[in-house]
């Protein structure tokens, strides 16, 4: 799994690539936590290059979403592949997350 973070005006975009499973999800959660601790709580998670995600990845995303919502921030998702979208749907999370078809649209939605 690779993670690259880029700061826009008020929004941080974290692009994730590769597999997000129990081996890699703790690293994703740690990186997201670093943003929250730096008071960057308007976050877009770009999932375009995520080839696989298990419930471990969902756990990292939900715990971050809870943390940023407490301080009026948000974690919005961009570009989930059909495979990732299925996992979100199976877990009932498509109504919990704001999901956008592109990174730009997700950034502009803030």
């Amino acid at each position: 799994m690779d993670i690259a973070t880029q700061d826009y005006d008020k929004v941080s975009v974290m692009a994730v690539a590769g597999r997000v499973d129990s081996a890699t999800a703790p690293e994703l959660e740690t990186e997201l936590k670093k943003l929250v601790e730096a008071e960057k709580t308007q976050i877009v998670l770009d999932l375009k290059e995520v080839e696989y995600m298990s419930s471990a990845g969902l756990r990292a995303m939900v715990s971050t979403l809870k943390a940023v919502k407490r301080v009026n921030g948000d974690l919005r998702l961009a570009n989930p592949s059909p495979r990732v979208e299925e996992v979100l749907r199976l877990a009932g999370l498509t109504s919990i997350f704001s999901i956008h078809p592109s990174r730009d649209e997700a950034v502009k939605s803030f």
Binding site: R19, D21, S22, A23, Y52, S54, S55, A56, L58, R59, V62, L65, K66, K69, R83, E86, V87, L90, A91, G92, L93, I96
Partner: protein, 137 residues
Amino acid sequence: MERTLTVPGRYNRLEQICEFVAAVATEAGLDETAINRCQLAVDEACTNIIEHGYGGEDKGAIDIACTPGQGEVMIKIHDHAPPFNPASVPQPNLDAMLDDVKIGGLGVYFMRQVMDVVKFSYENGGNTLTLIKRKEK
């Protein structure tokens, strides 16, 4: 013909397990969506074995046996952990509001959603999980 793989119970072996299962599912003629679902079910099963069965990494091995059949694949996952009772896992609340969302317990639920057969048994001093995925029509 049955293919087998034995790996130590470590999370960094999940990718290898997924690739092994995908190869056999491909051989059985399953389509991409079905193969992806097999990988998800097996990943969740093995994660549960490491996290809950063994109580951490490097506490025991995981044996996987895959049999490609006519338009289906049978996957048996065996561990050496104490007996697992699937009824002890609460059903996830998929309509929960954010504050109440709990991601624990999703593994067994995912398996049941994406596989055609999910059967837990205790045999030969360990748990055997039998998963079957049939070609989607």
